[in-house]
């Protein structure tokens, strides 16, 4: 269809020091316009100090069906988490 615009994903940093967070998507013709519309559509109440837009088609996503091989192998390494290491009574700030 001739008038089919592209889909863009919008990420907003709400305050300095925070990560950009996905807030939604919108249609635009190119990245510049997507950025302008993101400002109008997603920051009407001063929700952000920085905006990223990414064409949705440029995002490569992990597949749900890959879950077992993709994430499960990462889930058996409790030694990566501090909670595994018990501390003696009276020791904190560690």
């Amino acid at each position: 269809m001739a008038d089919q615009m592209q889909l863009y994903e919008v990420f907003i940093r709400s305050r300095r020091g925070l990560d950009h967070k996905h807030v939604g998507s919108l249609h635009a013709d190119d990245a510049i316009q997507a950025l302008e519309y993101a400002r109008d559509v997603y920051t009407r109440r001063g929700e952000g100090v920085s905006i990223w837009v990414v064409a949705s088609r440029d995002i490569t996503a992990s597949q749900e069906s890959d879950c077992e091989s993709f994430y499960d192998p990462l889930d058996d390494k409790p030694y990566r988490h501090a909670a595994m290491y018990a501390l003696p009574e009276g020791v904190d700030s560690l």
Binding site: M1, A2, D3, Q4, M5, L7, V23, G24, S25, L26, H27, D29, D30, Q33, V41, R44, R45, A61, Q63, E64, S65, D66, E68, S69
Partner: protein, 318 residues
């Protein structure tokens, strides 16, 4: 990349996930009926927001003060935004906005019937904000827990933004009730006309709702029509009384045993008449939307062509 055999979880796994209050995300396997049911519900919701711009938009150019004008513009603009969030949520289900708009235009997809009533006086802007938005919010708050992730997230955002909508509507009504007799009459007349259509917004009684049972099981809907309607009545009656408005229902009375208001019978014939296309403004609402879409076609086309030209010339440079 090696080609792994996709492990498609069946309907049982799907339902188990829903029962465990896990969200379904766009790329997850889902029953085709779940997908279609969601497309129907979310797009109907999106269309309602967009068509809902009209009865209130009608008064932007006639608002009685500059402050009211700015507030109303911001509110109508939010509605366009909400329509946009919801179209985007629907698009994650594999359908384009263009197709959704087409369904609206052919009548294959509905929007909230309440917007087929006219906004005749300024008090209607108060009544719409107070009653129609309150009714919508009662429903939307429950949908923040809907099972489909993108829909639930859109609802969270929408509920956050809508909190000012019902307040500004109620504030208009309150100002009118504190004004002259003419203004009080205007407010009461608006309540008289918008009350019953607002109750109808929650849809048919639970026993007669075509989609309810399955939608509840899939947690697309979280609370029943009657349950939500009762909550709305309980809230609104109290709000009406607080500013001296009379709810136009002779059967309305507090039921101590139930802890709720009992209210009169809804005129379902009128509901059917309006939903099937014969309300006061059905034709105008749709014609307005079609016209704007048609008149914008050359703009959308120009954008696409311009973008293609830019891409080509960039490639030349590179």
């Amino acid at each position: 990349m090696d080609k792994r055999v996709a492990l498609v979880p069946g309907e049982q796994t799907f339902q188990a996930r829903i029962d465990a209050e896990e969200k379904i995300e766009p790329k997850d396997w889902m029953p085709e009926k779940y997908r279609q049911n969601l497309i129907r519900q979310i797009s109907q919701h999106a269309h309602s927001e967009v068509i809902g711009e009209q009865p209130e938009g009608n008064w932007i150019t006639r608002a009685p003060s500059l402050e009211r004008k700015a507030i109303l513009m911001a509110k109508v603009q939010d509605e366009a935004g909400h329509g946009l969030y919801l179209y985007a949520a629907t698009e994650t289900l594999g359908i384009t906005r263009e197709e959704l708009i087409d369904r609206l235009h052919t009548g294959a997809s509905k929007y909230a019937s309440i917007f087929n009533y006219p906004s005749l006086t300024w008090a209607d802007i108060g009544a719409i904000g107070w009653l129609v938005d309150s009714a919508a919010i009662v429903n939307q708050v429950s949908l923040q827990n809907t099972s489909y992730g993108p829909y639930a997230r859109a609802m969270v955002r929408i509920c956050k933004e809508e909190s000012f909508h019902q307040r500004q509507g109620y504030n208009i009504m309150m100002t009118l009730m504190n004004g002259s007799q003419v203004q009080r009459d205007m407010a009461q007349d608006a309540l008289d006309r918008w009350w019953w259509p607002s109750l109808m917004m929650f849809g048919p009684h639970d026993g007669e709702s075509a989609h309810s049972a399955q939608s509840m099981k899939w947690k697309i809907k979280r609370r029943s029509n009657d349950d939500l309607r009762q909550q709305f009545v309980d809230q609104a009656v109290q709000q009406a009384e607080a500013i001296g408005l009379v709810v136009p229902d002779p059967d309305l009375q507090w039921d101590d045993a139930r802890g709720h208001y009992d209210f009169g019978a809804i005129d379902w014939e009128e509901f059917e008449r309006v939903i099937s296309g014969n309300g006061p403004c059905n034709r105008q609402r749709l014609a307005h939307h079609k016209r704007a879409h048609r008149e914008g076609a050359w703009v959308r086309e120009a954008m696409a062509v311009h973008e293609a030209k830019q891409r080509l010339s960039n490639e030349d440079v590179a």
